[in-house]
Amino acid sequence: MAIRRGRGYAAVNYPTGMNLGGDPSQALIHATTTGTFVVSLSSVDLGQGLKTVVAQCAAEVLGLPYGNILVDTADTDTGPHCMGTFASRGTHRVGNAVIMAATEAREVMLAVAADELEVDAGDLETDGSGFVQVKGAEQKRIHITDLALAAHFKQGRTISGRGIFLKEKNDPVPETGEMDPDSCQAHACTVAVVDVDDETGVVEVVTMYNAYEIGRALNPATVAQQVEGGAWMGMSHALFEATEPYYPARSHGPADFSEYLMPTAADIPEQHSAILERPAESGPFGAKGIGEMTANAPIPAIANAIYDACGVRLTAMPFTPERVLRGLDALTGG
């Protein structure tokens, strides 16, 4: 009776977005009298941080501080259409729509500034701190608050912009499956190290190493959140989760959190993750979807690590102690 250690590998790709009947999202943006930009959406934040990352996109394009952006979502009376938050589409679709809207608003912003400063709009730049200034003559500048006030009360212009991103409808060819279902692919490789207790069949994930390529990490902190939480969910799927533990039999279905088991804080492995960036042409600043895929590679990596540890090939999820023990028994003819 012993604890047996093993290491397993898995490498995966994951599509960003879908093409169901055409896949659009829209954004509207406008400046308030004092130079705050309100991004109006109907998109949903599930906790992945969409509100944060689209505000970053708007701030980057407008050349203003992040604090100048407010995101107003999700109300179908006030926000333009969004297909929804699924298929790793949120950051990609909504981010692109916000960039387009902010680009249009930026043009107006610079035109208003040009009139105020009596220069050509093409000679202007933003400094990132809230000023529009003349390139090469930075002392000639106007703050966004003064600029927005002038637009409202002097020039009579709306500083606003409209944006939409549409992945066009593409029907699969029935005979061959030819189709264009997604916008780009993110990538991951996971290495899992597990300990298998050959007496109890319990598998403990000791360490997980993850390498992800996600186009662009728009906000490295929220990327890290997805990486860590997703790897945990993958491990949870691998070792614990089933609403029908004896599938296809419907019996023994867990009814609550005392029966539907997931790893607790005490069960988490050490995680080491690296993020690589290969910007996608279609992505907002090159970003691909990261949220969904993080749960995928850990599952086969753990399966392969269990095999490496004790020679048991588990082909049915989840990898419960019962299945590990049955596998060990089969190996020894027990």
Binding site: R7, G8, A11, V12, N13, Y14, P15, G21, G22, V44, T52, Q56, A59, E60, G63, Y66, T73, A74, D75, T76, G79, C82, G84, F86, P174, G177, E178, M179, D180, P181, H187, C189, V191, N210, A211, N219, A221, A224, M233, H237, T243, P248, R250, G253, D256, F257, H272, I275, L276, E277, E281, F285, A295, N296, I299, N304, Y307, T315, A316, M317
Partner: protein
């Protein structure tokens, strides 16, 4: 510990950003740590009614009778809705994009098709009264044969799960499955040094968000309904709900956007339509929120899948052909499974350049809780199968599992099985990086490989 490694793809980077790429505090975090973030249930409109569902206690049965008399006698019960109260009772969520047929009733008519199928909705002054009334509804069933296994469901003579579908499979433009045909797998098997065929399987998995699915519908002075919901897709829910209610779309307004975990489970349209009907019939605010039990056993899980993979492999590790038979267990109704199965087909044969690929991806109906979207929809279980398969091939050939993957990894310019040219690939690089992280030594030729260089 998560860190950025900017040494890969040096020619493709851009670093002149001011906000993008910076650690930026979450816009919602202050609300979270002070307890002030408003979720849909953090609302107590005056006169709020509570809706609870009476559900099928059988896997597959005719409803011989429903006796509401005891339930209606419970103090505080305002109304009990049946299918006759729902204007357009039959729906399918993807009808918005042309998917047919309507195959799922909001409330059961004469048949229940899974344990938990909704039958009657009790609307009451208190949750306790609603639960009490649900317990007192007497449904008489005539059991029908049920089928739970995907392959048994497709066999001759299997009980028909969903008569609106007409078969126990979703029909893709006349085909019984979503097909993928690329090259000639039979020729590959004939030419291969080795043929490996194995089977993989998963069970349904619950999203388990800490906040359960729900909504509060509040009738407005102008006759419209304001729906506070934790849907993942506001307009998708609005449009589906309006079609079910048979009302103009602009009669509804969805307010949402802050969700206590979704993971795909809150894309279904399972609470809003019936709560709206209750609000319209009573002209009072109505709350319908799933219990934890409903979330666990009635809300749609990630589909169980069964996958057979047969590979044609050469002695040097090159994979010449891959044949895949996938069964996605959709449960009793289609929901989003026809799309998820197509997404699975597009994902095959995994991130590898395999010149001959054949896949039949079946979306199968069984008498269980309908499955639907979940994080990694169509891909998560496929990846378990595909990457277990790669490990087994490496072991069988006594090859380094990373070198086997690198040898077959897709690169820019490769034609994928669904006939889309690969671009922006980086499988090779994430493998190289992972190898470096764990000290897995790769020979120079494998360290030099690049996704950006065609083969």
């Amino acid at each position: 510990m998560t860190s950025l490694d900017k040494t890969f793809f040096p020619g493709e980077q851009r670093d002149d950003f001011t906000v993008i790429g910076s650690v930026t505090q979450r816009a919602d975090a202050l609300g979270h740590v002070t307890g002030r973030t408003a979720f849909f249930e953090d609302l107590t409109p005056p006169g709020l009614l509570h809706l609870k569902m009476a559900r099928s206690q059988r896997h597959h049965a005719r409803i011989a009778g429903v006796d509401l008399s005891d339930a209606l006698a419970v103090d505080g019960v305002v109304r009990i809705l049946t299918h006759a109260d729902i204007p357009n009772n039959l729906y399918t969520p993807l009808k918005l994009i042309g998917v047919e047929p309507d195959d799922e009733p909001i409330l059961a008519e004469d048949t229940v098709r899974y344990l938990g199928d909704p039958i009657c909705a009790v609307v009451a002054e208190t949750e306790a009264a609603a639960y009490e009334a649900v317990a007192r509804i007497r449904v008489t069933y005539q059991d029908l044969p049920a089928v739970f296994d995907v392959e048994e469901a497709l066999a001759e003579g299997a009980p028909l799960v969903n008569e609106y579908q007409g078969h126990n499979y979703f029909t893709y433009e006349g085909h019984h499955c979503r097909r993928l045909r690329f090259g000639d797998v039979d020729e590959a098997f004939a030419r291969a040094d080795h043929v490996f065929e194995w089977r993989y399987e998963s069970a349904p998995i619950e999203h388990a968000p800490t906040e359960t699915t729900g909504c509060i519908v509040v009738p407005q002075p102008d006759g419209r309904l304001r729906i506070h919901s934790d849907t993942q897709a506001c307009f998708f829910t609005l449009d589906n709900t309006a079609l079910i209610l048979g009302t103009p779309f602009n009669k509804l307004r969805i307010v949402g956007g802050t969700v206590g975990g979704g993971f795909g489970g809150k894309v279904d349209i399972v609470v809003e339509p019936v709560a709206c009907v209750a609000a319209m019939l009573t002209n009072r605010p109505v709350k319908f929120v799933y219990t934890r039990y409903e979330e666990m056993q009635v809300s749609s899980p990630r589909a169980a899948e069964r996958i057979y993979i047969k590979d044609a492999v050469m002695n040097d590790g090159r994979i010449l052909g891959r044949k895949i038979i996938l069964y996605v267990d959709a449960g009793a109704y289609a929901r989003h499974s026809p799309y998820g199965t197509t997404k699975a087909a597009a994902h095959m044969p995994g991130p590898y350049a395999i010149p001959n690929v054949w896949a039949d991806c079946h979306c199968v109906f069984t008498n269980r809780t309908p499955s639907s979207a979940m994080r990694g929809f169509g891909v998560t279980i496929a990846d378990f199968a595909l990457e277990s398969q790669m490990d087994r091939i490496a072991r069988a050939l006594e090859m380094d599992p990373l070198r086997l993957r690198l040898l077959n990894a897709y690169r820019d310019g490769d034609m994928k099985a669904h006939r889309k040219v690969a671009e922006g690939t980086a499988l090779i690089e994430v493998i190289q990086k992972a190898a470096a992280m764990v000290g897995h030594e790769l020979p120079a030729e494998f360290r030099r490989m690049s996704s950006a260089e065609g083969r």
